[in-house]
């Protein structure tokens, strides 16, 4: 409990610092201009989106094996945070694409894989939000996460074969040291935010379980 406020302050400071590095320190990119600065949020967000879905996948496997509500709460929290970062990716991506490629959307493998992965986990989230709260729904969602995450390999291969003529985007090379200076602190700042959000959502889901249990006990005590 003590760590959380400290980390929240650190996270806020880190995000502010990342903004400073992104908008003031990082050099203006020659061909794309200011739009390239989207990259410092876009790329870390994509990594963290994947991290969220991977943690959701792991939590779901654990849940299928031990049936502990905690594992499921963790998986749900991780998917939710992953979706948040995925939304950032899918909103900033087209802005960047418009500036760089002149179109809002391109059937580029990485882009398409991200979009489909987002759809799969969005379905997970809708299922959890509206499908009911029972144990069966949790299992359904866990199966979906366990099937959905590895599926991305197939999606990627399929889209790559489909649009094989597009060159892979080079993101890690072609960066000047100033650009790296903005990218990695930005990643660190968002990573802190990621874990803060994960912690909050996980706690919320666990508290909800506790409340549910107390309600049930109360109802029993009242003798119905």
């Amino acid at each position: 409990m003590k760590l959380f406020p400290v980390m929240a302050v650190v996270g806020a400071a880190a995000v502010a610092a990342a903004h400073y590095l992104t908008f003031i320190v990082a050099p203006m990119e020659r061909t794309m201009g200011a739009a390239q600065r989207i990259f410092y949020f876009h790329v870390p967000s994509a990594w963290l989106c994947y991290l969220g879905f991977i943690l959701g996948f792991v939590g779901s496997i654990v849940y299928l094996y031990n049936r502990k509500a905690k594992a499921d709460a963790f998986a749900l929290a991780a998917v939710e945070v992953g979706l948040c970062f995925g939304l950032i990716v899918l909103l900033t991506g087209p802005l960047w694409a418009r500036a760089a490629w002149g179109v809002w959307w391109k059937w580029e493998p990485r882009l398409t894989s991200m979009a489909l992965l987002f759809l799969i986990f969005a379905a997970y989230w809708v299922l959890r939000s509206f499908g009911g709260r029972g144990e069966g729904v949790r299992r359904f969602a866990a199966v979906l996460a366990v099937f959905g995450a590895p599926n991305i390999l197939f999606v990627h291969v399929a889209v790559k074969k489909w649009r094989g003529d597009h060159p892979d985007m080079v993101v890690s090379n072609g960066l000047t040291s100033d650009m790296r200076l903005a990218l990695y602190p930005s990643l660190l700042a968002l990573l802190i935010v990621f874990f803060l959000l994960l912690h909050l959502r996980y706690r919320a889901h666990r508290d909800a379980l506790t409340v549910q249990a107390i309600r049930r006990r109360l109802a029993r005590l009242r003798g119905i």
């Binding site: 499908g131 299992r139 979906l144 099937f147 197939f154 489909w162």
Partner: protein, 231 residues
């Protein structure tokens, strides 16, 4: 009734034969799927009919959309029959290996969607006036692989969906993005067969991709199924 427990194959074929026989007697799923496929054919023809060259380019997409939609209808019905009288619990409580039950259901779904496509494919060819006869074999192979991919992913998810509210809405939402590699492979592979797309390695690569998908999710689903259902 004999002392020894029946083997895996015996259980698999028992469930399979039961389901196919029930279907052939009532014909409820086949009839609804078939009629739905017919309606789809008209809708797709209304939507896409153009000049002969364009028709040849759009027919793969039309075929695969029909397969996907009709397949969803069938997959959703898989366990509806078992839900009646709580027969599903009996299946699960029996000492039969659960993966045998799932495999049987996958095969049933595969057969149902493929038989709908046997109806829809010639109709679409007639309506869009595309001569599919010279390449009918490879196209049916692609559709079979696609129906397989749909069955191996859709069946286990349909089992799980019976627990959820809005199951009939949730299921397609969950299954469609999951089978997108099969859809991409099927559409592109079919257009390579029809000569409207030229892939660098022809149709073989797409067949490999779909086969890999079917095997990976089939084996994965059967392996996980023991963990999925416990009641």
């Amino acid at each position: 009734m004999s002392g020894a427990a029946p083997g895996y194959v015996a259980i698999l074929s028992a469930v399979l034969v039961k389901d196919l026989r029930a279907e052939l007697r009532s014909k409820e799923t086949l009839a609804t799927m078939g009629l739905f496929g017919l309606v789809m054919t008209f809708i797709l023809a209304f939507g896409f009919t153009a000049d002969p060259a364009t028709n040849r380019r759009v027919i793969p997409g039309a075929l695969w959309i029909a397969l996907l939609f009709a397949g969803t209808l069938g997959v959703g019905r898989t366990f509806a029959r078992e839900a009646k009288d709580d027969a599903f619990s009996a299946l699960i409580l029996s000492p039969a290996p659960r993966s045998a039950v799932l495999l049987a259901k996958m095969i049933v779904n595969f057969c149902l969607s493929l038989s709908v496509m046997v109806l829809v494919t010639p109709l679409l060819a007639i309506m869009l006036r595309v001569d599919l006869l010279p390449s009918l074999g490879p196209i049916m192979l692609m559709l079979a692989l696609g129906a397989g991919g749909f069955a191996v992913v859709g069946t286990p998810l349909a089992v799980m969906a019976v627990n959820a509210r809005f199951a009939e809405v949730l299921l397609p939402m969950v299954v469609f993005p999951m089978v997108s590699p099969v859809l991409i492979g099927g559409v592109k592979g079919t257009s390579v067969i029809l000569g409207t797309t030229f892939g660098d390695d022809g149709v073989g690569g797409w067949i490999q991709l779909m086969l890999a998908f079917d095997v990976a999710f089939g084996v994965g689903g059967l392996f996980l199924f023991e963990r999925m259902v416990t009641e």
